[in-house]
């Protein structure tokens, strides 16, 4: 009798803890902006105060896979002007002057903006089991309590998501008068990258671009020449 009560208590406690642990495995709802990542890197030997004038070419270059074209994802040009405006505005805020006639007067730095996108696939599956109802199956970082009687068989489904990256590349033209592409090596002195998930609504994408591109400059205070 005593042993029986003990066992019942033990089992009840185990069930409680099991449910507790499985249902509370730590996760939060994730928004698009949560997954945005801003990375910057610079040449530490460069004193940016030596620079004054800049230009930003008016086209965003799309980087594509030329070996296997099926990997390519069409990138919208809907946000191009916003991205270019943000880069220009941040440069002006840091004290640079836009060179209005770059063919006559080569600027000190050129900022090229490019973009790329990649589609990623993930396969999820669960397996037949005889443990009955409410068996947790693994989905991403969440445990879900399956309502399936799992012994009906396992299953598989596929999801995909598209990631995009914007790369702003600052090139040092100060040493060069007119560049001869075949002969000259032009050094990159700063790179700002913004990486995130594509597919959010227009208003959210617009706001994410504002935040992330400004952040790239914000975390690169050495660019400030004022």
């Amino acid at each position: 009798m005593e042993k029986k009560i003990q066992l019942t208590v033990v089992l009840a406690f185990m069930a409680f803890t099991g449910v507790f642990l499985a249902s509370c495995y730590p996760t939060d709802d994730v928004s698009y902006s949560d997954l945005d990542l801003v990375g910057t890197i610079h040449d530490e030997s460069i004193d940016f105060k030596n620079f004054k004038t800049y230009v930003v070419p008016d086209t965003i270059v799309h980087m594509i896979d030329t070996v296997d074209e099926s990997n390519n994802v069409d990138i919208s040009r809907q946000y191009d002007q916003q991205i270019l405006n943000l880069v220009n505005q941040n440069m002006v805020d840091y004290g640079y002057v836009k060179e209005v006639n770059p063919t006559e007067n080569p600027p000190d730095v050129v900022l090229t903006v490019s973009a790329m996108a990649t589609e990623n696939y993930q396969v999820w599956s669960w397996y037949p089991s005889y443990w009955g109802w409410y068996w947790p199956y693994y989905k991403g970082t969440n445990y879900w309590w399956g309502y399936y009687p799992p012994y009906w068989g396992g299953g598989t489904y596929v999801t995909s998501y598209t990631t995009g990256t914007i790369i702003v590349n600052m090139l040092d033209l100060k040493e060069h008068g007119n560049i001869i592409p075949e002969n000259d090596t032009v050094n990159t002195v700063w790179i700002g990258t913004v990486n995130g998930l594509l597919g959010s609504s227009i208003s959210i994408t617009t706001s994410r671009l504002n935040t992330t591109i400004n952040q790239a400059f914000e975390q690169s205070q050495y660019l400030d020449i004022k």
Partner: protein, 196 residues
């Protein structure tokens, strides 16, 4: 690990073989409070933990045994900025530590014959530590076995119908390994205890 399992199974099936209490088992819910380098990494306390512990009496006041636990630490940091040399990254971080302590232990109990027995224990073994940092859509994960020890004070309380309570506080310390800094946290553990 295998040894512990064999001992554990023996313990379970041997219950009818002994007339008197030979072993003591506990299942505890664990709350963990990070310390030191662990606190620098995740400052939030963990309320996700469980441990199973088995002890054999070698005399009326001394047990030897072992335990297996699982503690999950987690913290989300919004838009953190980290730098390494000339590289700077900004993004939301999700940090996880999954710690699985596996210890052999020895304990000494006071108040022989009493319903309430305070004790002092020493644990030695390993903590399997998995540390994961997610940032943006990327993740960095390290998994290591840390040599570990854990001093412990506690009390066993016998109540109605042999449904007993285990209460203890344990300082867990796993030594620094190649990729993960020393792991240290104070565990406050409460659960049920039964004897065979």
């Amino acid at each position: 690990m295998k040894k512990i399992l064999i001992i554990a199974l023996f313990g379970l099936f041997s219950s009818t073989m002994f007339a008197q209490d030979q072993s003591m088992w506990s299942l505890t819910y664990n709350m963990s409070f990070p310390m030191g380098a662990t606190k620098d990494y995740i400052s939030k306390a963990s309320f996700r933990g469980i441990a199973l512990d088995g002890r054999w009496f070698v005399d009326n006041n001394v047990t030897v045994g072992g335990n297996l636990g699982w503690n999950v630490f987690y913290e989300k940091i919004d838009k953190a900025t980290i730098s390494s040399e000339n590289l700077t990254l900004n993004g939301t971080q999700w940090k996880y530590i999954n710690a699985v302590p596996m210890f052999f232990n020895a304990a000494y109990y006071l108040n022989e014959g009493s319903y309430v027995r305070p004790y002092l224990a020493a644990n030695i073994g390993t903590i399997f530590t998995s540390q994961r940092t997610e940032m943006g859509m990327y993740a960095l994960q390290d998994k290591e076995w840390k040599f570990a020890f854990a001093p412990e004070i506690g009390v066993t309380i016998e109540t109605y119908n042999s449904i007993n309570v285990m209460l203890n506080v344990r300082y867990n310390y796993g030594l620094e390994t190649e990729y993960i800094e020393p792991l240290s946290y104070i565990g406050v553990n409460v659960g049920i205890l039964w004897t065979y």
